[in-house]
């Protein structure tokens, strides 16, 4: 009888212990879930350069790095340049990564805060546009382009369209009237396409970003001697990170610091792979510019009648 009692007592205490363990596990499990849920989620809108896939591949490691550094769960959102302002206005993303003209548009229309600017190429966080012709093609100076076929980059490209268009206007050449014809290449890799278009004679002159010329020379795709640079635009800021004006100032400071601390050796784990952040993003580093550094772009946009100053 006493043995039965003992067994009964033991099984009761075992049951109680098991219940306690289950309760503890659930509590820890749920608190773990709650912890994950409590981590703030924010979206970063990345301007698409060539394709969504390429944009995500470039910036997924950088996004992971920023999440690790700030404790905020950042999610990359690839955004078409033409849709960028509309989607930002709708609140689809609070942080932005786009070209310097987009920064000016979002700054003027929505009070975007400047975070940090990308460094890449000879001029660091800045670059220039150039008007190029094929060497030996008979075009040796800017005035020779009157009546010729010209190819520009996409319309919202600061150094593939805006700066060259402005340069031509300032040099007394109206692209709408003084050229035989001008076009913008379709699809992705527009800047490379227009450089090749001049090299292989499809167009006489092109508005080429210096950064793309630099990159193509470094990669051995073209030679410096293939082209004549007829004119070069002023050096202006390149791609830039921004934050919506209502973003927590402490978080803004944290993100800026994280970007400035990036070195070529900084690496993160993405999908089981250790990836170098800057190399993946095609960036040499980041710089802190001031809003006034973007004033030359503002002046260009006013002269060319482009957003955010376009008047109809």
């Amino acid at each position: 009888m006493s043995v039965c009692n003992m067994l009964h007592k033991n099984s009761a205490s075992l049951k109680a212990l098991t219940q306690l363990l289950i309760t503890l596990l659930c509590t820890f499990g749920l608190s773990g879930c709650n912890f994950k849920q409590e981590r703030k989620v924010m979206k970063i809108g990345y301007m698409i350069c060539n394709s969504e896939q390429e944009t995500i591949a470039r910036f997924a490691p950088l996004t992971r790095y920023l999440s690790d550094k700030t404790g905020v769960e950042f999610v990359p959102v690839p955004v078409d340049t033409a849709d960028f302002e509309g989607r930002f206005q709708k609140g689809e993303f609070a942080l932005t990564h786009g070209n310097s003209l987009l920064y000016v548009i979002l700054r003027e229309n929505h009070g975007l805060q400047l975070l940090a600017s990308e460094k890449r190429g000879h001029f660091g966080s800045r670059t220039a546009g150039a008007i190029i012709a094929r060497k030996g093609g008979g075009i040796t100076k800017l005035t020779d382009i009157r009546g010729k076929r010209m190819v520009f980059g996409p319309m919202l490209a600061p150094t593939g369209y805006l700066a060259e268009y402005d340069l031509m206007l300032r040099s007394g050449i109206d692209p709408e009237r003084d050229l035989a014809y001008y076009a913008i290449p379709p699809g992705s890799y527009k800047h490379e396409k227009l450089i090749y278009a001049v090299l292989y004679g499809q167009f006489d002159v092109a508005a080429a970003p210096m950064l793309d010329l630099e990159t193509m020379v470094k990669e051995g795709k073209i030679a410096a001697d293939d082209f004549v640079i007829l004119a070069q635009t002023p050096v202006i800021p390149y791609c830039t990170f921004g934050a919506a004006k209502e973003t927590d100032p402490k978080l803004v400071a944290k993100i800026r610091q994280a970007l400035m601390e990036l070195t070529p050796e900084t690496a993160v784990d993405v999908a089981g792979e250790r990836i170098k952040v800057l190399k993946a993003a095609w960036v040499d580093g980041f710089e802190e510019l001031q809003d006034s550094d973007f004033n030359p772009i503002r002046e260009m946009a006013k002269r060319v009648n482009m957003p955010p100053y376009a008047k109809y």
């Binding site: 070069q232 050096v235 802190e288």
Partner: protein, 180 residues
């Protein structure tokens, strides 16, 4: 005076010591001549290597210099990229890039390029070297101090301006004779 065996032995020993001394002195002078010759050879070798290096740099970077002389600075930078594909770690490339960027008015990047070049090869700051760029660097440092120091003071939290300032200070210390 009688000369005994002992005296003969002493004489023989003395003669041996004298002969040994003469031999040692003769060998010493020979060795000195050899050392002097070796030093002369090394200096000659160093000079030849140096001349060859300067000639090679002139040949490699000649087209870049030519474009610079013609005022085609942007094309010169592209040409420099081409050469740098073959010789990526060459200090001369950084120094030329610094000079071109300085001409284009891109001060912060010019400072960074000079720093990169001089860290690789201190000859560019050496007054006596035919590769010396001392005057150009001094000019850039003066311009940089005028332009960047005031901006850095006005924006003390700006890390980019702080880096430019660090580069100015590095070049100033090298100009003053400081080592790496």
């Amino acid at each position: 005076m009688k000369i005994d065996k002992f005296d003969k032995l002493l004489g023989l020993l003395l003669a041996s010591v004298l002969i040994a001394l003469v031999l040692v002195l003769w060998q010493g002078s020979d060795r000195q001549a050899g050392t002097a010759k070796a030093v002369a050879d090394r200096v000659m070798e160093r000079e030849l290597t140096y001349q060859a290096r300067v000639a090679l740099l002139q040949k490699l970077y000649g087209p870049v210099d030519e474009l610079r002389r013609k005022g085609e600075l942007q094309t010169a930078l592209l040409k420099l990229d081409e050469v740098s594909r073959q010789y990526p770690g060459e200090a001369h490339g950084h120094v030329l890039q610094a000079e071109i960027l300085h001409e284009m008015g891109v001060l912060e990047e010019a400072l960074a390029s000079y720093v990169a070049g001089i860290r690789l090869n201190g000859e560019y700051i050496d007054r006596k070297s035919p590769l010396s760029r001392r005057e150009a660097i001094s000019r850039l440092v003066t311009e940089g101090e005028r332009d960047i120091v005031s901006r850095a003071k006005a924006n003390p939290a700006n890390r980019t301006l702080a880096t430019a300032l660090t580069n100015i200070n590095y070049l100033k210390s090298r100009l003053a004779g400081g080592c790496e």
